[in-house]
């Protein structure tokens, strides 16, 4: 009797990564259902968008190059902030309120969940809703 083909170590890692991406995509798509959310994306530690994106039919405020710069800057900020976790406690979320948008980021393991909303939202309520939806609270 021949042994069944078992997945190799590399295959297992690929399967795990694929499951993780699928899960991230589901989380982002679930957030995009909310009318106030324009963008929900998962950014990896290299500053690349690995799941999610803009809501269908939504026109991005920034171009692709600017978006890439934003992801890179976000990852840099997150890593620099971690230096102060010991004193201030870990970050639950960070946000910037701007004239045309509210941008909120949530550290999620090695990745960052980035959400952009319309400007007239209550930051705390929106952040709480997102955390509950993605299983962070």
């Amino acid at each position: 009797m021949t042994k069944p083909d078992l997945p190799s170590g590399d295959d297992m890692i690929l399967m795990e990564k694929s499951n993780e991406s699928w899960l991230f995509e589901q989380k982002c798509q679930a957030l995009l259902v909310f009318p106030e959310i324009r963008f929900a994306g998962m950014i990896n530690r290299m500053g690349r968008l690995v799941a999610g994106g803009y809501k269908k039919g939504e026109t991005p405020l920034e171009d692709a190059a600017e978006r890439q710069k934003m992801y890179m800057e976000l990852v840099l900020r997150v890593s620099m902030r971690q230096e102060f976790d010991y004193s201030f406690g870990p970050v639950k979320y960070t946000a910037s309120r701007r004239e045309k948008a509210v941008v909120i980021s949530f550290p999620l393991g090695a990745n960052v969940l980035l959400v952009s909303t319309i400007p007239d939202v209550d930051l705390d309520k929106t952040a709480k809703k997102i955390m509950k939806h993605v299983g962070l609270s």
Partner: protein
Amino acid sequence: MGKSEMSGLVQYPDYDKKCKKLCEEKEIRFAGIIDEGGKMVAGGFKEGLTPLEKDKHRLEEFMKFVSKFSLLKSFDETLGPTSYLAARREKVILISFPFPLTKITLLVSANPGIDIEGLAGHIVDIFDSDEARFAER
């Protein structure tokens, strides 16, 4: 750590008064003005309070970090100017308001139980009469 220990000079007496007024609030731990180089030039910690970051050098590094990122104008054209940046951490809430004309930043820290929007509104009520950045918007 008080202001005299950090810079030895109050460069903005009006802001210093407003920072002190903010520090009278029960939940506010710190209210200070930081210059472009990350040096505190007005305000300070609530009297009798022990900072969460006890190491003076690390606290200065943190202020440099806050100033650097608060004054960045990277996405102002597309997302509009920044009203404030906020971080909800386990032990504290941090909120910073960039004053781009004078290249200084107002940094406020508060106990984590309070609402960021409410805190931001209160800070604006106290500061907005002086700063032209609000008129810019």
